[in-house]
C-alpha cells in the first residue's frame, strides 16, 4: 500500500502502540484486497458481542493504549438486571464477561447504544458516506438501502477503524465494485417481511459467489423491517454485503444503472418452489414449544405493534421475549404495546442479544419459535431448536404453547 507519511507514522508507533496495532491489522487487510491507500471514515459500528474473542480483543487494544477517534455505536449486550429479575440468576461467568465487555467498550470510547439496527436509529449514514460497519444486518442495509459505503467489516476490523479513523480503500468503497454481476429474477411472490427472510436465506443457497446480486421482479418497496430481514439473512446464509433491487434501491434506478459496464455473469431464477424448498428445509415442522423469541435483528416499532395487535387480550402459554433497542422499548411503552405484551405474560427487553451466552441458558436443549432464521442458526450450537414462522403465527403459537402447522 501507498501510505501517506502521517499514516506511516501511525503504523510505526508515533501515535502509540494501540494505533500502530490497529494500523498493522488494517494494512494487512488492505494488502489482501489490493487497497492503494487508507481513507478517512465518518462513522463506525462495532458488533460488540460479549463473547470471549470480543472481550479479548478490546482489552488487548486498551492495554496498548488505544482510544476511538470515531466513536462507534455498538451491538446489543445483555440487560443483566432485567434477566436476573425475570428469567434466572445469571451465572457469575456471564455477569463477569458482560460487565467487563461493557466497561472495556466504554473505556475505549464507544457510544453504548447496545442495538444491532444503528441504520434505523442513532447512526444513520447518508448516500456516499465512507464508514466502517460490522454486524451482518447492518452492512447490506447501509450499502444497499442507504447508499453509504462500508466493506463487510468484522467487529475487530471495525474497532480498528474506529481507533485509526481510517479504512483501507477497496471493495465497496470504490464505484467500480458497487455494480451488480448476478441477475436474480424473482418469480416468487415476495410481499411480507417474512417473505424477505426466506428470499434472503434462499438466494445464497442457489448461488454461493460473493458477487453483487441484482434482484428484479420485486413488486413493491420492502418495509424497513423487510430490508432488515433480507440483509440479515443474505449475510448469514451467505456473505452478501450489498445487493440492488431494480427500481427500489438508490444505486439501481434501472437494470443498466445496477450493472454499469458489467456483463451478467449468471442468471438465477427464484420461483415459489425454490422459496417453498427453503421454507421446508429451514423452518421445521410444528410441535410443542417452550418459549418464543424475537429480535434478531432488534425489532422495529412496527413489528412490536404487530405483536401487540395479534395478542388481542389473550395470554401466553410459554415464555415470550421481544428484544429491541432502548429507544424502541420506550416508544412501545408510550404507545401502550409494552402494557399489552406484559399483560399477556411477555417481556420486552432492551439492549440485549439472542446470542450472548450463557444468558439464555434456561432454554438450552429446549424448543422455541422465532421469525428469524439467523436466530435459529446461531443457536444450533447450544442445542436450542427453533421453529421459524411469521411473527403473527409465532404469537398464536405462544398463546397455545404449540406450533400447530
Amino acid at each position: 500500500m501507498n501510505l501517506k507519511p502521517e499514516h506511516k507514522d501511525m503504523l510505526e508507533g508515533r501515535y502509540g502502540e494501540g494505533v500502530a496495532k490497529a494500523m498493522e491489522i488494517q494494512t494487512a487487510i488492505g494488502e489482501t484486497f489490493d487497497a492503494k491507500r487508507m481513507v478517512p471514515i465518518t462513522r463506525a459500528h462495532v458488533a460488540l458481542s460479549s463473547q470471549d474473542a470480543d472481550l479479548w480483543f478490546v482489552e488487548k487494544m486498551l492495554s496498548l493504549g488505544a482510544t476511538c477517534k470515531v466513536s462507534p455505536t455498538v451491538n446489543p449486550s445483555i440487560d443483566l438486571k432485567y434477566l436476573n429479575q425475570h428469567l434466572f440468576e445469571i451465572p457469575k461467568a456471564g455477569v463477569d464477561i458482560v460487565s467487563a465487555t461493557n466497561a472495556a467498550y466504554q473505556k475505549i470510547g464507544a457510544t453504548l447504544t447496545f442495538d444491532c439496527t444503528p441504520y434505523l436509529q442513532q447512526n444513520v449514514p447518508g448516500m456516499g458516506e465512507v464508514i466502517a460497519f460490522s454486524e451482518s444486518s447492518a452492512t447490506p442495509y447501509v450499502n444497499s438501502v442507504l447508499g453509504a459505503r462500508s466493506n463487510r467489516e468484522s467487529s475487530q476490523s471495525a474497532l480498528c477503524a474506529a481507533v485509526t479513523g481510517l479504512v483501507p480503500e477497496y471493495g465497496l468503497l470504490l464505484d467500480e465494485h458497487r455494480y451488480g454481476e448476478i441477475l436474480v429474477e424473482v418469480e416468487a411472490d415476495i410481499e411480507t417481511d417474512f417473505d424477505y427472510q426466506l428470499l434472503g436465506w434462499c438466494y445464497p443457497e442457489l448461488y454461493k459467489g460473493l458477487e453483487i446480486p441484482v434482484f428484479t421482479g420485486i413488486k413493491a418497496r420492502p418495509t424497513p423491517a423487510g430490508f432488515m430481514n433480507f440483509g440479515a439473512q443474505l449475510n448469514t446464509s451467505g456473505a452478501v454485503s450489498m445487493y440492488h433491487i431494480v427500481g427500489v434501491t438508490p444505486e439501481a434506478p434501472t437494470l443498466e444503472a445496477a450493472f454499469g459496464a458489467n456483463k451478467v455473469k449468471h442468471r438465477i431464477k427464484v420461483t415459489n418452489d425454490d422459496i417453498a424448498r427453503t421454507r421446508d428445509r429451514l423452518c421445521r415442522k410444528g410441535e410443542k414449544i417452550d418459549f418464543a423469541m424475537f429480535g434478531c435483528p432488534h425489532l422495529t416499532i412496527t413489528q412490536v405493534e404487530t405483536i401487540a395487535k395479534t395478542i388481542a387480550e389473550r395470554r401466553f402459554a410459554v415464555d415470550f421475549w421481544v428484544l429491541t433497542s432502548s429507544l424502541t422499548k420506550e416508544l412501545a411503552e408510550r404507545m401502550g404495546y409494552l402494557d399489552i405484551i406484559q399483560r399477556a405474560g411477555g417481556h420486552i427487553v432492551a439492549d440485549t442479544c439472542i446470542d450472548v451466552p450463557p444468558c439464555w441458558q434456561p432454554y438450552y436443549g429446549k424448543v422455541g419459535v422465532t421469525d428469524s432464521p439467523k436466530c435459529a442458526y446461531y443457536n444450533e450450537i447450544r442445542g436450542i431448536k427453533f421453529i421459524i414462522r411469521p411473527i403473527e403465527e409465532c404469537v398464536e403459537a405462544a398463546i397455545v404453547g404449540e406450533v400447530l402447522q
Binding site: 458488533a47 474473542a53 470480543d54 452492512t139 463487510r152 467489516e153 475487530q156 454461493k208
Partner: protein
C-alpha cells in the same frame, strides 16, 4: 520434493499438515470448540474434524462476530485449523485469520485445485506465497 504452486499471502506463517476440502463456505461458530468437529446441518463437512488440518474452502460465511469467536475458541482448545486456503477472501475471515495468526492464502494456481485430494499432506508457506503437495 513435491509439486509447488503459487499463491498469495493473506495471513503470514508456514505450516505442514493434511488437507481437508470443503465444497461449502464454513462458519467457525458451527464447529465444536472441544473437538474441532463441524456441527452445521447439511454442511459438506458435517461430522468431520478440522482441528490441525489445512482447510481448503471457497470462503468464510457468517456474522461479523462469530468467525472470530469460533476461531478463538477452537484455538483455546488447541483445535483450530493449521491453515486455510480460500478462493474468495472476505474481510471478516481475513481479519480473524490475521488477528489469531492462522496462516491463510488465496489466489492459488488453478492447477493446485486440479491435483489436490482430501487427505494429502501439504506445506502451506503463506509468508512466501508457496504451496507444496507432498507425494
Amino acid at each position: 520434493m513435491g509439486t509447488k504452486f503459487k499463491c498469495k499471502k493473506i495471513s503470514k506463517g508456514c505450516v505442514e499438515g493434511k488437507v481437508i476440502i470443503s465444497k461449502d463456505a464454513l462458519c467457525y461458530y458451527l464447529v465444536e470448540p472441544e473437538s474441532g468437529t463441524v456441527v452445521e446441518r447439511n454442511h459438506d463437512l458435517e461430522g468431520r474434524n478440522v482441528a490441525g488440518k489445512v482447510l481448503i474452502m471457497p470462503s468464510g460465511k457468517g456474522s461479523s462476530v462469530v468467525q472470530a469467536d469460533g476461531i478463538y475458541k477452537l484455538s483455546q482448545h488447541g483445535n483450530s485449523p493449521l491453515g486455510m486456503i480460500i478462493e474468495h477472501a472476505d474481510p471478516v475471515l481475513v481479519s480473524s485469520a490475521i488477528i489469531f495468526e492462522v496462516p491463510m492464502v488465496h489466489e492459488v494456481d488453478p492447477e493446485f485445485y486440479a491435483q489436490i485430494i482430501d487427505g494429502d499432506t501439504i506445506v502451506l508457506d503463506a509468508t512466501n506465497g508457496v504451496l507444496e503437495i507432498k507425494k
